[in-house]
């Protein structure tokens, strides 16, 4: 992750009207933000739309960013909230079981990666969005417990407890589907 000082300087530049500063932040974080959202919602088109919304919201709310905190935590918070709200809005699309998840896999989902990636992604979609968020932030984005707490807005202790439960649930799903021995 790039230094926070650098991010803050770019934010200040953006607030001063430097459009290029925002573009630099966008290019720096579009990959991680897109991936985090993709793991949350699975559909690539939805992830693209939500990533776009995330960056535009960040731009609009840039003045509310507190430079004492990490910029990427603030940005991820917007992204994860967008993804969770999207999942809740489209709750009917959340599979109830593994079979439904597999049959619902779209061609776009196949682009997520190999078959293993897709099957892990399918299983991820079967756990609650709160649990999914901590798993995504820890395992795909490499965030610490402390950073995850700041992003999802819960104490570190809750992060730990959610992460342990999420791992157990996901592991059982993957074992039940023969993905893990």
């Amino acid at each position: 992750m790039t230094s926070e000082t650098d991010d803050c300087a770019l934010v200040q530049g953006c607030l001063g009207g430097d459009e290029h500063a925002f573009e630099t932040l966008l290019l720096r974080y579009q990959g991680p933000v897109f991936n985090a959202i993709l793991r949350m919602v699975r559909d690539r088109d939805d992830a693209s739309d939500l990533a776009q919304t995330t960056f535009l919201k960040a731009y609009e709310q840039l003045r509310t960013f507190d430079p004492r905190h990490k910029f990427f935590s603030w940005l991820y918070r917007i992204a994860i909230n967008e993804a969770i709200n999207h999942v809740k809005r489209r709750g009917r699309l959340e599979p109830l079981d593994g079979e439904r998840a597999s049959s619902a896999r779209s061609p776009e989902a196949e682009l997520v990666g190999s078959d293993l990636s897709s099957r892990v992604q399918d299983a991820l979609m079967c756990i609650s969005s709160d649990y999914r968020a901590v798993l995504v932030l820890r395992h795909f984005e490499g965030c610490s417990y402390d950073e995850i707490g700041a992003i999802v807005g819960v104490p570190e202790k809750t992060v730990k407890s959610r992460l342990f439960s999420a791992r157990r649930q996901l592991r059982e799903l993957l074992e039940a589907r023969g993905i893990l021995p």
């Binding site: 776009q52 293993l116 395992h139």
Partner: protein, 214 residues
Amino acid sequence: MSIRPEILDLIHADIDGIATEADSIKLRDAIANDAEVRDEYRRLRGLCDALAGVEPASPPRELAPNVMRGVRARRGGVRSGYVGRARAWWPGGPQALRYAYALAAGAAIGVIAMQLVGAGSLFLPSVQERDAAASIGTAPGMCRLELSQAGIKGSATLQPSGVGAAIGLQVTAKDPVELVLRYDPAHDGDRVKVLVVRDGAAQDAGTLRIARGH
């Protein structure tokens, strides 16, 4: 599962790479001596390996250009140049700036109200009644209505302006005065009715009329 919570903590800490040297020794010991711990550790490791095997996806090529198009369309949101810097600099941030806006709006409303009640003495030099009468007499097309018949000390004037008609009020009062200017283009033509509201009832104070030919 009969694994003690502190051992489970150690397993997760090891997987997350935050276990201390002492933690690792304790965990190695537990793994060596307890088959259940060994199995739990193996299964969790397997899960983490599977998650690590998920390939990262590249963001769509159009994502950044689309966002930048949206940013340019919203440029009014983050002001540039002096305005942007002033807003960023404002002590207390944008929240405080909103209060400042509200305060400024309140002050403006207050000034207008005082202007109405205080006979315009805030902005204009105080004018003696006889001076005003003289100036009214020389203004072409101006109509003046004394409000004294409605129990108010002062007058209302109506005169042609560049885009229509301008209404002027000169009122002296200790308490707030509520005046209603009623104009109906379908029926009133060049007349404006002046009403004084007291205790919720409107009392006719007279009519202002622009002189013909203006």
